[in-house]
Symmetry: C2
Subunit: 325 residues, 2 copies
């Protein structure tokens, strides 16, 4: 099947962004290796610029736009999270204007982070319709290009650079566990990894309530219309639907067995990483670690000895870690 | 002046231990660089085996003893902290017996960590006299060699390997900020660093109440006799006195200006590292970071542009971080 995005999009993106982003390190823990009886390679995207992998996609989108149209009027998106921070950072880095539409109920700490990167902020009603409408209105008014958080070729291609790097760092990986929300990161990673190692298995790791496995096994979208937000502490993974670009890729290249993790699983996984690896990760990263530690992992991958886990971000409010009462 | 420890002790130690320990990475943060208007190189000893630099000294002591006496009966120390964990780990690694004397009021989480590394635990009254007496008694009964936590040549020599590595990683450093307690780590680091770059400045960073500057400026010990424990959240830095081996080294090679940090300074520094560098450090590591951020640093080092900071450990109870109410 012909997918909307190809490996060459990723290599072009990596060439474009690699001088400006971190080649993030691989972490390992002999304690965790012992627990799961595998060698585990944690890809440290929490140490990426802006504290999450989103910097890769946002920077590729911004630089790509600048190449095509050096006289552009900037970019706009709606996000109160890592994509908003990343786009604000990327635009400032590229010397471009950026507007971020933020729901009026977004936490002050997140608003401050986006503002710190120099973006113009516009507040909207806290619902998906208002976010999209406000974003479209600003795009029309300011002639700014909308950069969506996942369903956008340049974003996916930029995020695929995680997979390019990881396969260079650990060429004989047998599987990669990837947290999933809209599917941008996992689409990029599986195109990259399967290009160099076609038999590698890519597993999606989701918060409970997303129910992606129904859609993958049915071969068509089974999420509600309109899609709801998933109720989870993994605030980076609340989107239930996949995109028109990402769903076909995920359907084609990602394993049909999905790892589903509860808030309690996520918290235990986070604590393990804080205590044993001394790394500050956000709940979304904990989803991949929780999958690694699950009984399902043992059952699905008894013979796999080398597994990658994407620690996708580290932007969590350390004044209110989820295990604090 | 002839000191009791020389650079060759350090290079021998490094040759002995380097196949078995982590060459810890250097971290940096463009945000923190901007704050202090310097390039700062954080040496990540919180990622060392057992979660602190103590693994270097303990392993060197244990392996050195084993070389001299393969038929030894093991080692003993008194410590409820990082040295206890490190010695227990090192002894198990070397296939030797180990006893750790622990005050009866030590936190359960620390006791469990030492026990996990397979040491025999012996509890004593929670005062310095009982600790030392119990340790001596066990040494006599079991014929185990006492490995003190800092005033011991093999321990200092092993810890000096931090300085050897750091100067290889960043050869043109102008200063290093080192948390100080009994002075083992800083003694090793300044011997290593000054051997390759004699004009480098080594600064001691202490918790408030240690008052080391009086002794350094007087040129003789000014701490009370018997020395008290310093009242600080930096639980790895509670020893007030320096040792008979370490004090002469510190007096000769460390700057007379000492950085003194309050609990509030330490907490702010820790939070900055958690938020911006995504690293889990313990309060003792925060002491060096707090010194970096201080006004005194600006005044003392206006022209220095490349500074190292030792993140000496990451063993903190993440259920009870010091900023949690």
């Amino acid at each position: 099947m012909k997918l909307g995005i190809e490996y060459r999009h990723l290599t072009e993106a990596y060439e474009r962004i690699s001088p400006h982003i971190h080649k993030t390190p691989i972490f390992s823990s002999s304690y965790i290796n012992g627990l799961v009886e595998k060698k585990v390679y944690f890809k440290g995207e929490h140490l990426q610029k802006t504290g999450s992998f989103k910097a890769r996609g946002a920077l590729n989108a911004v630089l790509s736009l600048k190449e095509k149209n050096p006289e552009n009027s900037g970019v706009v998106t709606h996000s109160s999270g890592n994509h908003g921070q990343a786009l604000a950072w990327a635009a400032r880095y590229a010397g471009m204007k950026c507007t971020v539409v933020i729901p009026s109920n977004a936490p002050a700490v997140k608003v401050a982070a986006i503002k710190d990167y120099g973006a113009d902020l516009v507040f909207c009603e806290p619902n998906p319709m208002s976010r999209q409408e406000t974003c479209a209105k600003i795009s029309a008014e300011k002639n700014q290009t909308i950069i969506p958080s996942f369903d956008y070729l340049d974003v996916i291609a930029g995020e695929g650079s995680i997979g390019i790097e990881l396969m260079e760092q650990v060429p004989d990986l047998e599987a990669i566990l990837v947290p999933i929300s809209g599917g941008g990161m996992i689409s990029g990673i599986c195109i990259a990894a399967k290009a160099v190692k076609p038999d590698i298995k890519i597993f999606a790791c989701e918060p409970k309530g997303k129910d992606l496995e129904y859609s993958l096994k049915a071969g068509k979208p089974m999420w509600p219309d309109p899609p709801k937000f998933v109720d989870t502490i993994a605030d980076g993974l609340r989107v239930q639907r996949l995109g028109t670009l990402t769903f076909p890729v995920v359907l084609e290249l990602v394993e049909k067995d999905v790892f589903t993790t509860s808030d309690d699983d996520i918290i235990e996984a986070m604590k393990l990483v804080y205590q044993r690896m001394k790394q500050v990760i956000e709940p979304s990263s904990g989803v991949g670690v929780a999958a690694l530690l699950s009984d399902k992992m043992k059952k699905l991958t008894p013979d796999m000895k080398k597994v990658g886990v994407i620690l996708c971000g580290g932007n969590t409010d350390i004044e209110h870690l989820p295990w604090m009462k």
